[in-house]
């Protein structure tokens, strides 16, 4: 099935379904592999003819790969600015890939859970995104895709240093595994810096919502491995799992403390945020990220009932600027977007006639 960006814009990425383990705290798991075709210079050093060569080799390999055969293949040069921004927001391409677009392409699997960027920093960047705490599953899928592409491509590889990437920080396995984790408890109890510091000490990196070089919004942190040489793929993935589990345990303890010492403050904060999302008439995306974070905390703590985590995922992804404009099929200035965004959220929160509710006993106690 060939999917267009217009079709994609109608619904959130399938990996936002939040049906797996720990989905309230872990939005998504991602694994990417950096691969290069032997005998061709890396993208930044290649001329147009060489770039076209790596593009056509990659395209051919993708057409033969079972995992991607039925997906979509888009040349970046055929997409306009808004489409490219949409793909960035969708976490399918990097900012860099969107910026300089000639001879670049993206292949996307049917369910958007696997994809390949072509001619970014490396000739191929294979990616798998899964919902929740499923980084091992993401590795399994991207490993399979890698085998399928390996059958038609000859990768640049050295026995000593593994897969040879444009940047030496990716050489070896070429693997970067990450999870997008929600840590409001650690922020509210002011322990986040300490925890980030210890994660860094353990050889992992902490980044923002869009990965490398991006800002932290909505208390969502991307935790990932930093080294790729000298450790096997499985070991990298398992040590990430271990560290994230530990961080989630710290987060749980922080939330216990908050509930014990500041229950009404937390409940107030959660419901105020919910109220703003539901009744506001104009809202920026960054504000949505902060309010949705408070509401997500409320859902995790059981302060709010009957609001699925998937709906919060939908809210933060579908109201991003390019998503909004693609969905409504027209360009809008920021002011107009803020109004449409508020309207969209209002609909989301009243859909199905079902509304979120608090625990009656506790609400009574509070009043």
């Amino acid at each position: 099935m060939l999917v267009t960006i217009e079709q994609m814009a109608k619904s959130p990425s399938p990996w936002l379904a939040a049906e797996s383990e720990l989905s309230d705290s872990v939005v998504s798991s991602r694994v990417r592999l950096a691969r290069n075709v032997e005998g061709l210079p890396y993208a930044h050093r290649a001329n147009t003819q060489q770039l076209e060569q790596s593009l056509s080799l990659a395209r051919e390999a993708i057409q033969n790969a079972n995992s991607l055969k039925t997906g979509s293949f888009m040349l970046m040069s055929e997409l306009d600015d808004l489409d490219r921004q949409f793909l960035v927001e969708r976490h399918l391409i990097s900012h860099e890939h969107a910026e300089n677009s000639s001879t670049r392409a993206i292949a996307i699997g049917d369910d958007e859970m696997i994809s390949v960027m072509i001619n970014e920093e490396d000739h191929l960047r294979l990616q798998s995104i899964q919902s929740g705490f499923q980084v091992m599953e993401a590795w399994r899928l991207v490993d399979r895709l890698d085998d399928e592409l390996d059958a038609s491509l000859k990768y640049a590889f050295s026995y000593e240093w593994g897969y040879l990437s444009a940047c030496p920080t990716n050489t070896g396995t070429g693997l970067r595994a990450s999870m997008l984790v929600h840590l409001p408890g650690l922020i509210l109890t002011k322990q986040i810096e300490k925890v980030i510091h210890s994660i860094t000490q353990m050889g992992l990196a902490v980044r923002g919502f869009f990965g490398e070089g991006s800002e932290v919004v909505g208390n969502l942190f991307q935790i990932s491995n930093r080294t790729s040489l000298g450790t096997s793929e499985i070991d990298i993935v398992q040590s990430l799992e271990k560290v994230v589990k530990q961080v989630l345990e710290y987060e749980r303890r922080a939330r216990d403390i908050l509930l014990r010492n500041a229950r009404f403050e937390i409940e107030d904060k959660v419901w105020r945020a919910y109220g703003i999302l539901k009744y506001c008439r104009k809202v920026t995306w960054k504000d949505v990220m902060s309010y949705a974070s408070a509401v997500r905390l409320g859902v995790s703590l059981g302060v709010i009932d009957g609001l699925p985590v998937a709906k919060l995922n939908e809210m933060i992804f579908m109201t991003q600027p390019a998503h909004l404009q693609k969905r409504y099929g027209r360009k809008m200035d920021p002011g107009e977007r803020d109004v449409v965004r508020a309207e969209m959220i209002r609909k989301m929160l009243t859909e199905d006639g079902k509304q979120a509710s608090g625990d009656a006993a506790q609400t009574g106690e509070a009043s």
Binding site: D143, D150, P168, T173, P184, V206, L229, G230
Partner: protein, 166 residues
Amino acid sequence: MLCDNCGKEPARVHYKEMKGNEITELHLCEKCALEKGIQLPHKKQPFMISNILASMAEEVGSDIIRCKSCGLSYKEFRECGRLGCADCYEAFKEQLKPLLRRIHGSNIHVGKSPRQSQDVFEKRRQIENLKVELTRAIEREDFEKAAEIRDKIKELEKISEDAGDN
């Protein structure tokens, strides 16, 4: 804008924190952000490699080395943090060895290999392991064992040369 923490350097890292009902923004310079363990947004270079490269820059002689395949010089690599092609790894091998070790804490690949290379890769790994055993055998002056291991290595090297390396 200057750094909120030290007030001396320009703020490069903008970071948001939720305190009570307020969202406070922190604007930090790279140094203070690093101390707080926050990753830096670097457009051109991943920050880790630029830092490491800067700290080992004093190899003046290396700058003029060029990769024969793509023409990239070591100086250009130091400036942009990207290699030009797979052959650069061979051209700058002596410079990359310590660099890779600094970045990854290792300079030997462990893990997956392309299908075509698997057999050879496996043999290479066996050879590496045997070499370690050989050194140990010599250290404890077990020369009989050492000779045995040396023969094994020779045999494996022969097979791997026949099979791989084109």
